[in-house]
Symmetry: C2
Subunit: 685 residues, 2 copies
């Protein structure tokens, strides 16, 4: 049951794809507050849980903090932050009642979920224009499904994007790229793609290639493709101000950049120095910007990541000038607490300052809007620009696309990565917890930078993180310039890392199948225990275990020097303690609390009753993964059934019945296949 309420004159965000008639009267479950801002509140029962908000800090249960939907370039992700890169204004309250709410507005929204008072939730909109949707259902999964149906089908990447991917800000030349790929291949470390961060561009200009560093870019792309490795370049939001640069000149000529009140282009500073932002909320400008991706597609590229599109602003040019003047004026003065704080405050004010958002405008179909009113849409619409272009330029072929910033609706055009995390055990856990919240709002193709982007990784952290990421659709090792080099081949325990990677390629048939079924059916791929085991009183406490697809529960080790962990089983399960594709032991555990050992080289996987985990024999890249023979780990109580989805991984015809194979394993280990005829080695758990 979905109801829609309109407040003010909401901007058409295109978050939803279904037209729903407006309801009259009060928003159910929430009380509209009197006050300056449009605001709604409700009481929370002491046992109520609150789920949602997609990409944000803290737990799966969001109770006990205030969050703010305001997309921002925020690399610290500590507990006290309120905003990350995305605005995902959907949440579900479960407890005394069960309902969901989606606040569809492109401006800033705050969610006080038991912060001011433990038993109170308040949602406040900075601008009073919004479509508010309220969902009712029997359980969280019902409500999520209602929401997901409303917002449309999730983006589906090519199959190779489920392989292992390597990235680092710091690969500068063709030689760097070839060498990294070679080191993987030589050491039998499976790999499907390599990333180009900002250094491949000429002076950080979008859609250019630095021909000094990469004179044979097209050949490199082709060579690597023959080696089954895809090259994935970055695209930034800001377009460099530079005479003679075609994108800049076309944008100026056609008025396609965001402008200030007086009609002059707004100038911000990012990597290239001064840039203008493409006005992706203007349909014509969006089409033009999307068309630019053709340059790289024509060079053989078939994947992109859109970055800095909150948009990140190092400085607005006017403010920079003023701050420099303010600082210069302090020369010779005695800087005490107050005046030194003026100095530091001026410096801090430079970047991502919300006041600057009020200084530039978009030409939207609904007229001119200050950026501040539509801020949270920028990343979405930049990625939409690309997605719409891909539909025009290569309609029959999947292109890899994911973005840093996002809003609900962008999930139809691309995935996201979880932004600039750090090499912290804490961030590995945070990234893990984000997965189901992101699934709730339609983002299925997601993952955090493995090993951590900022700060220096340790070998054990990288190993544990790789194990944790075994089921993450986007499995990418990425790190920042200046941090410890963290390619998997750089560490002493390379065997553990290699074995873990081969397990990933073994898991690919299951992982791809579960991902695709979730995408095609508007389902969640990662689920917290509490969503499935709704009657289990302890399940809501479990935030470090997730169901990955229909068969498997994961329970990674998140603690340094940990040699095992506590695992809670809501029902009897079978465990696989995996060291490599060939080396594992298995056991059964009854429902309840268990302490289970897991050495540094061991990953704990759990198979639910009457479910199975299908595994290939692995491979060095996704195309090397064969499915004519597979191993099946089946935990059969009476009869285990698995619906296996597979396709060519590139095309967009998803509903072919040939894609489905039904595998049935009986208690004696005999099996049948309906659909494709595959040879199975059954291992009963």
């Amino acid at each position: 049951m979905i109801r829609k309420y309109i407040f003010g004159s909401p901007f058409q965000t295109d978050a939803v794809v279904c037209d729903i008639p407006c309801s009259q009267g009060d928003v159910p479950h929430m009380k509209q507050e009197n006050g300056e801002n449009l605001s709604f509140s409700c009481q929370l029962g002491s046992a109520d849980e609150v789920y949602g908000l997609g990409e944000n800090v803290r737990g799966i249960n969001k109770r006990g903090w205030r969050y703010c939907s305001c997309c921002v370039d925020e690399p610290n992700h500590t507990e006290d932050r309120q905003s990350l890169y995305a605005a995902h204004n959907f949440l579900v309250v479960r407890g005394q009642t069960c309902f969901g709410i989606f606040v569809d507005t492109p401006g800033v929204v705050t969610f006080d979920i038991g912060y001011t008072h433990l038993d109170e939730m308040t949602i406040t909109l900075v601008y009073p224009d919004a479509a508010i949707y309220v969902f009712e259902g029997m359980c969280v999964l019902d409500i999520v499904k209602e929401f997901r149906t409303l917002i449309g089908r999730s983006y589906i990447p090519p199959k190779w994007a489920f392989g292992f991917q390597q990235s680092r800000w710091g690969y500068k030349t063709e030689e760097d790229i070839y060498r990294v790929v070679k080191m993987h291949r030589e050491n039998h470390l499976p790999l499907d793609s390599i990333y180009l961060d900002i250094d491949y561009m000429e002076r950080y200009k979008d859609f250019t290639v630095d021909r000094e560093r990469m004179p044979h870019f097209e050949k490199m792309v082709q060579d690597l493709k023959e080696d089954h490795v895809h090259v994935v370049p970055i695209i930034d939001a800001g377009v460099k101000v530079e005479e003679g640069y075609a994108v800049y000149e076309e944008g100026i000529e056609n008025g396609y950049f965001c402008k200030e009140e007086d009609g002059k282009e707004f100038t911000a500073g990012v990597w290239p120095g001064r840039v203008h932002f493409p006005d992706v909320l203007n349909p014509e400008a969006r089409k033009w910007f999307g068309e630019q991706y053709r340059v790289l597609l024509d060079m053989g590229v078939d994947g992109f990541w859109n970055d800095m599109n909150e948009p990140s602003i190092f400085y607005a040019q006017d403010r920079l000038d003023s701050v420099i003047d303010q600082i210069a004026a302090l020369k010779g003065r005695n800087l005490n607490l107050e005046t030194f704080e003026q100095f530091m405050g001026a410096v801090r004010s430079l970047s991502d300052n919300r006041e600057d958002y009020q200084k530039f405008y978009h030409q939207t179909p609904e007229g001119r809007m200050s950026h501040d009113r539509v801020h949270n849409l920028f990343g979405y619409y930049m990625t939409r620009a690309a997605g719409e272009a891909f539909e025009r330029l290569c309609p029959d072929r999947r292109i890899l696309m994911f973005s840093r910033s996002s809003y609900v609706g962008m999930h139809r055009y691309g995935g996201i990565w979880m932004g600039d995390n750090k090499s912290w055990w804490q961030h590995m856990l945070l990234n893990y917890k984000m997965q189901p919240s992101l699934n709730m709002v339609g983002f299925l193709y997601t993952g955090g930078d493995i090993g951590g982007f900022g700060a220096d990784v340790t070998e054990d952290l990288l190993i544990r993180w790789m194990q944790m990421a075994l089921f993450m659709p986007l499995m990418r090792n990425h790190s920042a310039m200046g941090t410890r080099q963290q390619e998997v081949y750089r560490f002493d325990n390379q065997k553990i890392l290699r074995d873990t990677l081969h397990v990933r390629y073994g898991l690919l048939p299951y992982l791809y199948s579960e991902f695709m079924k979730a995408a095609l059916g508007d389902e969640m791929y990662f689920k917290p225990l509490s969503f499935l085991y709704t009657e289990d009183a302890y399940a809501p406490q479990v935030e470090d275990q997730l169901l990955a697809g229909d068969s498997v529960m994961t329970a990674p080790v998140f603690v340094q020097n940990g040699k095992g962990r506590y695992v809670y089983l809501p029902e009897e399960m079978a465990m696989i303690r995996m060291r490599s594709l060939d080396d594992y032991d298995t056991d059964r555990y009854p429902a309840g609390h268990h302490y289970i050992e897991a050495g540094l080289n061991e990953t704990l996987l759990f198979v639910r009753p009457d479910k199975m985990l299908i595994m290939s024999d692995g491979g060095e890249y996704t195309e090397d993964v064969h499915t004519d023979h597979m191993k099946v780990f089946a935990f059969v109580k009476t009869n285990a059934v698995y619906e296996w989805y597979d396709d060519d991984g590139m095309g967009k015809k998803y509903d072919d019945p040939e894609h489905m194979t039904k595998i049935t394993v009986a208690a004696d280990g005999t099996y049948t296949c309906e659909g494709r005829n595959i040879r199975l080695t059954v291992e009963l758990l």
Copy 2:
């Protein structure tokens, strides 16, 4: 067994109090490396644990990171930091062999403990002058005791310093102070002291009182003392440069400040703006600086906290001038990645820049030394200045003293708090883990700011933190200006907070007794399970439970929305699930892993077999805690014995046999007291 090795010409740090003959030959257990720096390394077995380093980030077992002893004003304490406020160069390796090492040098030292290679530890000294002590013993506790005996008896505060203490940067006037105290008293929230942060001073000048804000300072101190509340002002390291300010003028006249190469006083900027640093490594200057505390002692003050004594440097004056010029020169330029990073890098270079440490000097008994060579001693010697002065000025009376920065040896003059933590669940856990590491290096009177100093607290975090702090000797709620107000009377669930505070006052006799026995016997008050249960294979994994004294094990809840936790018992124990002094339930658990519920209002305490926990009936301040009647929670298997230490809490005669009372409880609940005759209510667990 202690051996001492001399390298170069070590500076006499006065960390140790015993003279030990030097050994010749190689340092045992470690291999001296060839290379530019003095450096030692050893292999680590895969099961080896490494304990120590006092105040630092990460776990109790320090494996898996590189740490750096370089005292610094560092408020973030995230996993990637290497240095906090202290330099505690002592660690113990337990595994294949068991040995301790103390690197006594006042310069920077790095400890790579399985960072570069998981199985390797390397200690590197920036300056090659050091006394290195190596300890051997049967177990960690033996080695710690050897070390503690070598470095001398830990500081003992007055008994009232074990009561609850309230602080906030932001109390500005006498009215503020009176109001906070009144709110505690009116609401029956026990309190023993209130803190003055920097605002009580006139223009942030040490040893002055702002007479506009606090015209009747002496009366306030007296009034509050009559209300059993002690006023504890802050003292900063930097002395304001201001004509007519006596401390400044005396310091200049006598050459008591740190100077640059050319003899000019080194000028840094801190709260008051320009300051000079007292040369506390010069014995005459140290005596003079210590003498200044008399001003406040004479006003009735009997406690102090020494802050900013790493020393914290917001800027060196010369560098500030140069940075302002560099920034001004950027005006009008196109700031791209490289040049904007120059801008931001220049700003970051201002504070706590190690290059500045080479620009000023101390006049030590061993001649003129650049600050960089002796950096880690500054906080120690500032606090020593005070401690030595108190010995002269009030030899028979304990004065509360604790410091932010420290080095081994300072533990004889004062305690420490754990610096500027944040309102993070993660920091509550970090502060908990630091306690045993600090005890290892002699710091017994310690605690972290309850609720967190920076960032905004949540009500549940404050409650859980108060519960966690029940056994912390220094139990202080402290927060920064601009953050959410976090006095305990500001929250809805005041009853929980009140009950928790009353439990603290109930625990005081036990807590004080255990603290004093640890101090007088060079023992640890907080111990990890693995130190006591040396044969328990799982105990080293447990970093969120601690033994507090001889009878009790604590197991706080560290997770938001947590309704219980896993607890590991290395032996059978009795549990008290405490809601208030009168409201609790008890149970026994066998050795092993357990999941135990703990509601937001509940604290889990565990009593060891044949041990007991003595508890008073509570009180509103420490003097209100009576011990003629006590409750005893005894877990008697055959016979429980407790040696109860008590004294007047102010004097320094600790060895009076009258201070000890031996309590014996038999299995039937009958008891005897040898020493003081106290009335006990025995509750058998």
